[in-house]
Amino acid sequence: MTTILVMTFTGIALIGVLGFVGRRRPAADLSEWAVGGRRFGALSMWFLQAGEVFTTFTFLGMAGLAFSGGVAALYALPYVPIGYMVLFFLAKRLWSLGKERGYLTQGDYLEDRYDSKLLGTVAAVLGVVFVLPYLQLQITGLGLIVQLVTGDSASGTLSMIIGCALVVAFVLWAGLHGVAMTSYFKDIVMLVVLAVLLIAIPAHFSGGVTAMFHRIDALHPEMLTIHAGPSDQVWFTTSMLVSMVGVGLMCLPHAWPAVMSARDPKVLRRNYTWMPLYELCLLMPIIVGFAAVLVLKPGTPANGILLTLSKQVLPTWATGLVVVAAIATAMVPAAGILIGISSLVARNIARVRDERKQFWINHGTVVAACGLSLLLAIYRPDLLANLLLLTYSGTVQLAPAIALGFLARRPVGKVAVLAGLFVGELVVVWLTFWQKGLAGNVNAGLVGLAANIAVLALATAAERLTTRPSAQDTSEPMEVRA
């Protein structure tokens, strides 16, 4: 146990140190800090974008989902490659707009494309509200990992505090450069650990991967199909579609700094071309999750199964390495999310003109957002849990506005976009919290999106009937401050 604990805190400290090494001197301004001066090459971009995809949910959650739902876990496989194929076509336009008009955030883009500060602020507030629970999830996950392996809740809390302090420190110092540097470490250690687990766990319990699946086919054939129940075809397809739209149209605000940091659009296109192959790594925790079907009792807490099996199979030092990898999948995405949240607050919510003040508001937000998430993770871990349900279905409501914003001539007005967004969010909240069974297994985000688009179309038609055509389109609005 002491060995694991020592490795755990060494791992946390190492990630913190790597984050600091990402930059020699502190960034001079927000653009340098948030998007690395738009100078990132293919390698850095690769790890930054992979960093967003492989989080604690991927590492621990996918194994848990395969354990409880079998192949239903595969809903997470198609949406990133399909989303990236959409982004492959949008990359040049997105990058050019960002470079020309100085975007750092999603709010900057919407504000500029619709010439509406209100839309920029509304999108930023929604982004912060829906992504803050995602930040807390990473911190809670970090504590849970340590607690599961050590069996000591005090160690879990201590790891959350130290982890958060180090993430805040290196994010403030190094910005996106720090996230990129820690991402290298995270992905390498995570892949090594997953490859070891993929071989060791099925071999130990069933004599290998194919032998394991032959036993599952004989004993639990229902785990190999999508069938009636809570994870049926409707759930699978609609969840996949919502996530696909979310990735393909960059609805999560923390995806923006990484894309804006690219040196040129070719770097983005190259990454979007090859990233689907990297997505295959997702199959590794899923296969480990299947191993648990034959070993653990149904009802075992799903999120801990990867660590539980690791402890049973691996020597102590190797389990320590698994814990370090799991911690990295919490700390690195948390750092990326912090950059996304703070730049939204500094650029699109606080709205100060002085660049120096904007920079300090940004840094203050990093401390405040991480501090708040840490306190909630320790004292009220369930408070934001419901909001987490809205992270994808809520942010995806920005999809129509983002998609139409790519067009050179704006076909819809800001009022119509805001009306659609308002109704979409209302429907999602209503279906998530008040009328849970009304949409059946259809993802609430998709229903909200349908309502959003319907209102957007009606409001646009009404606008066109009541407004003279010349007032409709102003093709390229004013430049935002970089």
Partner: protein, 65 residues
């Protein structure tokens, strides 16, 4: 819209249709692995050549212009 825009639609369709194809969404194994897993992995891999081909055609068109 150019014809090469449709090339990536092929693997995308393969992935989206995964749970609806009766020979994929069924028990039994391919190569010792769940059929859905093999099908999903194959179409995931196919995304990259589809995008490479699309890029080549896009570049050729740009060069001709």
């Amino acid at each position: 819209m150019r014809p090469y825009h449709l090339i990536p639609a092929v693997p995308a369709l393969g992935l989206v249709l995964m749970p609806f194809l009766p020979f994929v969404n069924t028990d039994g194994l391919w190569f010792g692995l769940p059929r859905m897993l093999v099908w999903g992995a194959v179409w995931c891999v196919m995304c990259t050549p589809a995008l490479l081909l699309t890029e080549r055609l896009m570049n050729r068109e740009e060069a001709e212009k």
